[in-house]
Symmetry: D2
Subunit: 379 residues, 4 copies
């Protein structure tokens, strides 16, 4: 198949994307979207199964030993769109500001093309809900979405690359996401009598300074890591030393080793900075997402497939998180970017911005990549 074979579907993929764009739904609420997906697949004769509340899995089974998965996410964001376009969001306060509308549209058209193509093997079409902070992927895995799948690919439209380029790198491309909550328990009292208290505000301040050393001293500088305290809250009055201070933060890494090291360091630092000041510290540490690590062989193949019809660039690393890692940490996976940025047309606003939009000319390239990649992996 050549690029022109996919260009024929350009209008359809854009039409689908715009429809999803106009009716955005938040995570685990993708009723309308998943209904459209299910009907579309069923109309193609593809068996579907629902899972993870609003997730849909399509089974395009031609027999044979190998199964390849392709994944799209369907959820929107709680953002009020500020674009004035005919297809702007019709739902106040909700918007497809990350491009999942395009992901869903592309995978539907890919499904159509694949359903009309002869190949040996099986293709698993994974339409998942709730990628944005809710880890819908883990619910899909629990539901059996990738049972029997050998390899999986995913795509993300990306404003940082020019229209229709495809970006692929082997190894880690998106960071793991952890969350930590630290509560420092001191002893409250009158602000004029600090000697009768154990001041959790001063203790937390020192703790936050000490946490800076995790990245500056403890993590291998060749590794990449972030430790951020995003929230701090303590006290009710200017003249009362409070009992407790609460902090809430995030950790990003690309390796299991760095991740474990940081968790341990945060716990040790919290314990002892607190003890130094007659306080105690509770640390709750949650691993939300794994790092998204591209399989080296799949990345190699992906580069070859994409370079047949478009420009391929290095993807590099980003500190953002993706629950595609739930699949890619279990089976070989490839998460590639599709360039949608086009300054001449004004497509420059970053993801999650109220003015985010995309150069839709890119979409047939995404369909091409998904289709050709799946077929290649089944050869």
């Amino acid at each position: 198949m050549k690029l022109s074979d996919f260009m024929r579907y350009k209008d359809e993929v854009i039409k689908l994307r715009r429809d999803f764009h106009m009716y955005p739904e938040l995570g685990f609420e993708e009723e309308r979207t998943s209904g459209i997906v299910r009907d579309y697949l069923n109309d193609l004769g593809i068996t579907t199964r629902s899972m993870a509340k609003t997730g849909v899995v399509g089974y395009l089974n031609n027999g044979g030993e190998k199964t390849v998965g392709i994944r799209a996410d369907m959820d929107a964001l709680p953002i009020q769109e500020e674009n004035n376009v005919p297809y702007r969001s019709q739902v106040p306060g909700k918007m497809h500001a990350c491009g999942h509308d395009a992901h869903t549209a592309m995978l539907l058209v890919t499904s159509k093309i694949l359903s009309e193509t002869e190949f040996d093997g099986n293709i698993r079409l994974v339409f998942q809900p709730a990628e944005e902070g809710l880890n819908g992927a883990s619910k899909m895995v629990e539901g059996g979405a990738i049972d029997g799948v050998d390899e999986i690919i995913g795509m993300h439209v990306w404003i940082g690359f020019p229209t229709a380029t495809i970006a692929i790198s082997p190894g880690p491309v998106l960071a793991s996401v952890d969350r930590f909550k630290i509560t420092v328990h001191g002893k409250g009292g009158h602000g004029a009598a600090p000697q009768d208290t154990a001041d959790p505000i001063v203790t937390s301040s020192e703790l936050i300074m000490a946490l800076q050393t995790v990245v500056s001293r403890n993590v291998d500088p060749i590794d990449t890591a972030v430790v951020t305290v995003g929230k701090i809250n303590g006290g009710t009055a200017f003249n009362i030393i409070p009992e407790t201070v609460e902090m809430d933060g995030t950790v990003r890494t690309f390796t299991e080793e760095a991740d474990k090291l940081i968790e341990k360091r945060i716990k040790v630092i919290s314990e002892h900075i607190a003890k130094a000041h007659n306080c105690t510290a509770d640390v709750e540490y949650l691993h939300l997402n794994h790092a998204t690590v591209n399989d080296t062989r799949l990345a190699e193949i992906g580069k070859k497939v994409a370079s047949q019809f478009t420009t391929v660039v290095e993807q590099g690393r980003a500190m953002g998180g993706e629950d595609f890692s739930e699949y890619a940490s279990r089976i070989p996976g490839l998460f590639a970017y599709l360039g949608i940025g086009n300054p001449k047309k004004g497509f420059v606003y970053p993801h999650h911005n109220p003015r985010f939009d995309m150069d839709e000319d890119a979409l047939p390239y995404g369909v091409a990549f998904e289709t050709l990649m799946a077929l290649k992996l089944l050869q």
Copy 2:
């Protein structure tokens, strides 16, 4: 006059105190209390004037050049009483937990005795509202309560001294009270991209550590000072670096010099710690109360007067604040403590505690001190 001359009024002062105790009123809401005060004074033939909303001033003028003031405060606290006594508070959520009920009762009886005594000179009876954090005293001063007054005395019942002892020291006895609000303005952004932000949480943490050096390094160790941050608040989510962090705190000192130094240091530290981290800091600095400084001569006289009928001890310094300082910073003043602590009777709970109560045997001693001191100062 001898102590026995005052003991005759013991039942009356206790009865008055218990009545006020049962019907506590918060600052600037002392309608019932000030009504009783006004009627009581008028019944004695003492002219009164209302000011500062619920304040009452009585004029006991016998002519002559000198005028001596005596001050009592009348307000209660927003605390639910936990004592089971016949005279417990009848108002849910309000309680005379600092002893102002006793102050009002003592000054009424003092007024009665003085109105029945021959002396040359004038006595100003100052019943003020809203001592607890609202600086009712400043409103009384504005209203003219101490216009023409040469010297003023005040008393505070104090659980830390045994019943009926009187504590007096020359010089500073209660601290000045300042409040500072610091807002650190940074640049918000994604928690995974600190390089694009100016992190106000880390900056505020370093600022709070730096503020510790004001007391540890900048203030003369012979001086006494406290700098407390009682409240810190910043951020809305674990993975977002916020725009701002807000801190709210208090400063206590006994000298003008230390007070000015600390204000300046807080401003300089805030400005430059913020600048070091590409942030800015707004500092709002409010001087709420002056230090309460006893006039040396009045303290000397007070000790002699009190030692005629009870035990006199050194008062020492406390970091708490008092708006009696509004008077004592304008004219010579003496603020003395009357011991009401009695572990055998269970009177041990600190001021502002829901179980605070007092050994009422002390009250006639307070009346004696006020009466004899006023007469002594008019000789």
Copy 3:
């Protein structure tokens, strides 16, 4: 005895002081000085005993149960005098820059007057070496200098008070002096590989910030305390993280309670800040001098005695240390200041300054105080 009885000795006390001034000797090297003292006392018929290397004790025993001690210190400082006076130091690099020359001269003349006076009781004349940082007093105590002594007085000339005033306060007047040495042991390594080290420089920095909270948060603000790190030393090269960092500091307090609290806090903070950063901390804590606390009764008597012939002022507190505390912590003691400051004559340079000098007109007043106080205490 009247002041004029002491004024007769003015020339002698000045002559003696100037002689000592010209030949200053450092701590435990006061050979010449103590030889003069011994001879002087022996010539008066006073028995002497040597102890603490260069200390001399004189025994003026008239029998009776009570013994009163008077103490002078004799050592000079390693400072090059910059005054151009006839009696300037003849010893390069050494100078009586703290006034111990006057202390010795005054006590000699006091000894002479007392030896010519009738009284009941015994007087112990304590001439000690090495007050400046070497704690000669403790050696005198070990040697038996105050065995059998009931009460002891000492005087210090003081540039901060005008000539001939005498300053006395009850309670603590000079601080206790402690020394602490903290060694932080980390793990050294290449400066480009912090992940393989435990960085003792960062850890020590955080430790020093945490130590600021001892004074700002832990000590009662009414108490007076200082915690100073005077020295920090770690590392040999810009690109090597060292194994250890050493810190050396001092603590000043006026109460045993604050002293113990601070020692404990320094140890707890050091232990846990080190642990937070995978380091360990050794803390060596030395109590060098007690606080100098004047006995209340002796202070009362001292004020009365001094006010017979000169102006008496409050002494206040100073953070400096004095080994007179070695005596005053064992038996009731009184350490008074004799004013020697006189701006008109140019006597304004502080103690330990190369231009320090004194208004010698004050010296007979010191002799008077020592003499009259000793006699008063023996009555």
Copy 4:
């Protein structure tokens, strides 16, 4: 040419390396070594020129437009060897503990082979002194060593890779090296009177904590950076607050952008932390070495050349510095590693360790790479 063509020189390259190993010379003192180099090249008929004190450049010019450089460094380290081998260092306190003996030996043999080979173009043989911290490369550049050179290659033996593997990566492979010296000027004084001082020890401690935020907050986490304070020094006595504290540290980065950002941040932080505490800070910032960045095209070619005769691996990044960057920042360069690690033979001790040694079986592979790479680049 095949690998066996180079294996014939194995004995010679080992013999040369051992000779250099036995007589190590420090930077700019490589008299004996450079003498041997000069004679060896001259014997081959290669013209030489001396520069940079003990540097030697050989000119193997066959005409043509292109010139390719090959660089070896010759200096040893001030380390006492602890190996017991026949060829151990004969010079007390000096040792080839980084493998420069092998670099020199390999390039000599490469020169011999190339001098016996027909090719078009010119080869520049760069034997430089003083790579270890003295930046001998910059002196060679000043001397004209790479004037007219189009591309340059260098090799470093590396214990972290198995014998005879060759490690190559495009882009940055070794960090830039900066040095910063910060002097905090405060106001000294007595340790008991911090209020009269500006304490540079506390200020420096806070400064060091603030410097941690440069890596933890300011540098893009995808970039790699280190900021280390290796040395801190201030104060002379436990009870004196000093005037100044001196710090000395290093910065490592891989990009010009990160390097400039860090220099700026260190200066801003130092200025304002100092100002916050009434101190001033002097910052001296020195750029010692650029990052060593491999040219992408040369890396590509290098991988192909090396994979003809040995295993090629990714080189990755290391935070160490190399003055090869002096060449590679001016003309396209390639700095490759030659594996010499062999646990079975005990070759496991890291570079700069007194027991460092190498598996000499690797050396003919290094000769092969240098020779074949030079010839390839001249084609």
